[in-house]
Structure formats: structure tokens, C-alpha cells
Symmetry: C2
Subunit: 442 residues, 2 copies
Amino acid sequence: MAKNKIKPRILPGFMELLPREQILFNSMYDTIREVYESFGFLPLDTPVIELSETLLAKAGGETEKQIYRFSKGDTDLSLRFDLTVPLARYVAEHSADLAFPFKRYQMSKVYRGERPQKGRFREFYQCDIDVIGNEELDLTYDAEMPAVIYNVFKRLDFGEFVIKINNRKLLNGFFEELNLSDKIGDILRNIDKIDKIGKSALIEELNEIIGDECAINKIIEFISIEGSSDEKLESLKNMSVSNKKFEEGLTELENVIIYLRKFGIEEDCFEIDLKIARGLDYYTGTVYETVLKDYPGLGSVCSGGRYDNLTEYYTNKKLPGIGISIGLTRLFSQLITEKIISPATGSIAKILVLPMQSDMEYTIKVADMLRKNNIPTDVYYSQKAIKHKMKYADRLGVPFVVVIGDDELAAGEATLKNMTTGIQTTVKLEDLISEYKKQIGE
Amino acid sequence: MAKNKIKPRILPGFMELLPREQILFNSMYDTIREVYESFGFLPLDTPVIELSETLLAKAGGETEKQIYRFSKGDTDLSLRFDLTVPLARYVAEHSADLAFPFKRYQMSKVYRGERPQKGRFREFYQCDIDVIGNEELDLTYDAEMPAVIYNVFKRLDFGEFVIKINNRKLLNGFFEELNLSDKIGDILRNIDKIDKIGKSALIEELNEIIGDECAINKIIEFISIEGSSDEKLESLKNMSVSNKKFEEGLTELENVIIYLRKFGIEEDCFEIDLKIARGLDYYTGTVYETVLKDYPGLGSVCSGGRYDNLTEYYTNKKLPGIGISIGLTRLFSQLITEKIISPATGSIAKILVLPMQSDMEYTIKVADMLRKNNIPTDVYYSQKAIKHKMKYADRLGVPFVVVIGDDELAAGEATLKNMTTGIQTTVKLEDLISEYKKQIGE
């Protein structure tokens, strides 16, 4: 009985890739994982589904509206919307079994049912690292984070980048001194617009919020600080803000900069940016944003910072931490859209073996030999016309083909075809590996 | 204001690992992925959430009851319960952009809200490969599947294993010839119990279902076929079942065995098992199960087979395929429970640098040098007493520690401590890499 066909489609706001794009995505994923592991971060893989009471312990506002929440039986469930809340739950649950400082990475999908729009996804990968201390966490970790970011973006190789650094104690202390603590959010949102609206429009906006010319001048002085990192630190000292938090933040910022240099991070790869604050109710010390210099329009591609207490909703322990996150799905999508990267021309297989006769034994032997030499190898087994076989090779985008025709079979040979140059070389089977390695320049 | 703490816990039926276990799990995952890629399978990563109409196009019965299904706005959504239905949707949706035969792997989590019990999970990894043909698919792929399984379990190294092979055409043709096509399900379920209940009890059971002594004798003859693969094939031929399907299945089975040998699979790693059938309404040709010889109680650790039409619910195209799946979460959990594997003693970091003085510059330089030599390296930055530092090294389970004390700092040296033997060796910094490589036997 004929049944109506269902239209095959995915939901809007979900990214799904063709194999060539997926290979490129995976290579970025693998690079980030390798760098994270090179610093000794430990892998975690928490469930996608958790109890709503666990995930919503802190959430509120926008996040709560976006969450995928549903019941199964009597249980109120939600899909995780970030990897930080599950980390907090994990650390609170397993703290007795963990070595502190606990360094973990998790690179997994998270879910936010927001209105889909360009560059926004409902399912996306976050690639997080965090270091969690027990009661305290040394400031050196505040410099290790940018060292990790530095290595990630050096390896990913999207051109020059800069890691912007600020300190929330410095920021909070400054506004506290001006008696503007309750207006920080409003003020920072406006400061953020300075590049768009200009200084005089900003002063007008601030005037409406604050109405105190002296304070506004001080704010303008603060955000106008320019120069090298050392010059900015010097200017900050010269502002003589006599606030304990401000001074603490300034000392921290100064020390982070000193450590950064010890980590060998080049001077033009980091800068102090007094305008960045990140999540207002979360970060309490060093904060980071990362910008690709050639593509500032992408916004921050890696952000994070220090927080005082990861697990406050679950335990009375004090567990301060520091972390950064790369939103890989969004980054990948932007890089593809802006044509900064393009899908790999190669397949997973480095060589495709094409038998041009029906005896599979020799063909299978050749493929087995290639695989034993760590060369991923595909074989086109179907008995089809040559044009079908070559079309498969082309569509796959495989860089090399090994042709096994009657002559090769009879002579114990193989013909290696470089699909980029089109050049064919027939060699004895025992010389195939060395010929291949020669051609790829190994 | 004090707020009530929420008990940190995960849902029953969800597997979550401590870092050492996670490292072991990931190494298994990586091994499977490497083998899949060595055969040129292409990566896919479909969304966890799909439209219910898409995922439930075929489902029914148990699966439909277990599915996590919910609404967001007006949309009826479900979490995928396997990777085959999303593959079918993907191939139907993107067939114009794929090269056929389309070889893909996907190693991702799937969701089934079944009653949690030992060895059953609500969230678990499936590690699937499938080859999808356009209109047709060569029989050689039926032998490539066991070749992949063979390489996976050789590499995973859980001792001897056997890949059991059968053919559904052979099975269906046999029962068709006995006019028992409508009772196949019942009969096979009873045959499956033979090892438990014995032959005479089986005959009694079959008598109740069939009531035809001649047919029962024929069935007993069929399932009693023993010997080597060649002897079994010979016995099957000698049964002279004059049914076209049976003959077709027998020829396929014979050819798959011939190809298997060409793939270099050792004779004791595969066998014909006429009792396996897999999903009754799905597979149509070759079927597989894989058993670890030393741990038969685990059941089949890798199963699959050939099907006629992957995408029938979405398109009119005819896309036959063949695939296998490893339920990694269940396998891992069983292997741990049975103590067949145990969590790695090592951390992700191969070396932990322990500064025993406050100058971090030299310490960071040492760590940076190690990382540049592809040695994952952690550093304990916190200014704590030595006992805290050594305790961290122990809990982390790191195999080597590099101690940087005042003497090392002054002399440009480093002390490498082997945490297994306890032996310490102090060397010039420029000799640290070679000393480490010597100690790990490289």
C-alpha cells in the first residue's frame, strides 16, 4: 500500500553539514581539543538532559524562556543551555573524587530555543575550559587562560587576533568610588556604543543616566585611556582612585599582564580593554574577549573570565573558578559565510582504490596495505563503468586514486594518480607507499 | 540571603563518568573513530532534536513509547532514538549532494526514555557506519563491514572475538519453503532459547506453534548444521531446499565468506550462525552479530546488516544499504562492571610541573617547552605546601612530575620524577625531553 512520503527536513536554527564541511568542522574541533589537552585539561561529558530544578537553579529571564523543558512521566526535565551549570552540578556532586584545582574541558552541544536568526543557533557546540579551585585559585591561572586561547587561535590560523583583558574588580571599584554601583549595567551598555555614536553623544546619554558632570568626566577619562598595556596600567595608577576594590583589580590586572609575557604571548596578541565587562552578575575578576583582527565584525570569538563561586546553588563549599568558551557552531558558520574558510577539498580517505577488473583479491590487498601504513583508504567495489568510478572519485574529492587494471594485476603493480595534477605513476606494489609519501612531500 | 541548596544529582539511566573513566571511554571512542576513518567513512553530525513526524515516520510499538517527545511553541519535537532514522532523513534530503555509495559514520548520543535497569541507558552513544547505494550496492560491502568490525576489536584488544554471519534471504526462503513465513518471528524466538532449554524442549515448543513433524525435523536439521564455514555451506547446499530466495541467500553467504578471507580476516574470527536474524522487519540480506569469546554474557557487542531501502518513508528513490552499530555506552559500562577494563591510571597530562619556589617564569618556560614537544603538560601554580603539591600529583595520576626547586632554577636544570618507580633524575633543561623520552622507552 502506498504511504504518503514525509518531507525530509531539519528544524530551522539547527546546523547540519555536508560531509566536506563536516570534515572541516571536525578538524577545528580536534585542534581545539588537542590544545586543551596539551594544557592537561580533563575531559567531561555530562548528560544533555538534566532535572529542571538542577539547570534552573540560577537561570532566569531570557535563558529560562529559551530553555527546552518537558516532562517524562512525573519528571520535570530540561536540555542544558550551557556547559557551566552542568559543570557546577558535577563539581558539587563529585568534589570528593576530584583533584583541585580541577581543570576540565567539555566540547558538547547545548540547546536554546530562541528565535532563529542569522548566526544564532538552537543547537550549538560550546568548547569550554574551566579551572576550579578549592576555597582559592592562584592568579597565574588568569594568565594560563589567554595562553590557551593564544595557542588555539595560532593553530586555527585565521590571521591576527587580540585577546582583550579587563578586570571586574577594577571596573566595580571605579564605579563604586563614583557612587554609581547601581547604574553599572546602564552605563556599560552605553559605553559599549561609543564606537558607533561617538564621544559627545555618549556624554549626552550618560548625562541622562547620571546627571553628575564630575562623574561623567571621570568616566570619559577612564575609557579614554590609551597606549600600550604598560601605559594603560600607568594611566590607571595616575587616576588615583582611592578604592580598595579598584586597587585590588589594578594589581591583579598588572600581574596577569606580567604572567602573560612569561607565557610567551606576543605583545600584539593581547591588550587591556577597559570597556569589556561580560556577564554582569557572574564574573568577579579577570574577564576576556577575543577578536580576529581581520574580521572584527564577528565579535568576540572566545570569551570568559573569573567567578567567585561556581557551586553556590548546590553546596556551601567555596569554589572559585576561571573559564573561557568558544562558541564553535557560530564561529564556524560565520567563517564559512564570510568565506574566511572553505570546505576541505579532500575526503576522509586520502586514497581511493579503483579496481578496473573483477578480481577483488588484489584490490583488497592493496587497500589493506595502505591502511596498515596509516593511510585512510576507500575502495569503490561496485562493478560499474569507468566513468562512474572516476565520477565517484571526483565527487568524493579524494586527493589520490590508485588504479588496479588488468596490467597492474598481472605485473603486481599499481597506478597512483594525483587528482590535483592528473599525473599518473605506475609502480611496483612494494613501492606504492614510498611513491605516495614522495608525492605528498613526506 | 541564604537560599535553599539544590541537591546536585543526575537522572537515573544516564551515564556520567569521573575524569579517569572518561579518559578511558574517550580512548575507546577515538579508536573506533580512527578505524572507521581508515576505511574512508565520512563524518556526520545530525541534530539531536528533530520533528516528530520525521523521527516517527517508521517507529511504532516500544520505540514510540520510549521516545522523548515534547512541544516548543506549536512544533512537535522529539529527541532521536537511533542514528539510522536521521541518516535516512539526511540521505533523502541531501542525495543530490552526496557521492554514492555514500559511506558515513556517526558516533553520537541517542535517547530512549525506557525504565532504567542494569546495562540499559536513557542516553547512550551509538557508533554507526553505513554504506548507502543508489539503486544497488555491491556484495563486497557485505564483507567490508566485518573487516571494519575485525579491525575495531583487534585494536580495542578485549581478547578473542567472533563475528557471526547469517543471511535473511536464506532464512526467509527456508521458512517460505516450509510454508511458515507468517510464523518466522515466533519460531526464531524459540530457536534462540535452544542453548537454555535444550533440543527436546525446543521441539515441544515448535510443535505447539507448527504442529507439523516433517517441518520441525527440517528446522532441527537446519539449526543443527555444524562444522567449519565451508562445511556449513556444504550442508546447506545438501539440504536441497528448492526455493529461489534460499538459493540467492546461500550464494550471497558463500560469496561473503570468500570475500571475508580476501580481507585477511582470520578463520577463527568469523562463523556462519544460522540462528541470528536481527530486527525482523528491517534487515533483508546479510546480518551480523559480534561476540567476545571470553565474555559471551555481554551478548552481541556489534550488530547490523543489509536493508533494501533506507529512505522509503521520505522518497521514492531506492537506496539499499548495509550498516553496523556499536552501543558504546552499554559496552563500556559492561566492560567496567565485569572488570575487563579499568580506568586509566594516567591523566591527560603526561607531565605535571611542580614549582617549589615562587618564580613562575622558569616554570612556565619548562611547561611551554614540553608542550612544544607534544607532551601534554599541567602546572600546579598554587602557592601551597609541598605535601599539597604531591597530593595533587597523586590524585591526578600523572605518570611523571618535573620538580623546579631553587637548585634547579639556579642551575638551569629540572628534576624528572617517575611516579611509578619513584626514581628522580636531575638533568640540564636542554636534556629534559630526551631524558623523558628515554624513560618512556621512545
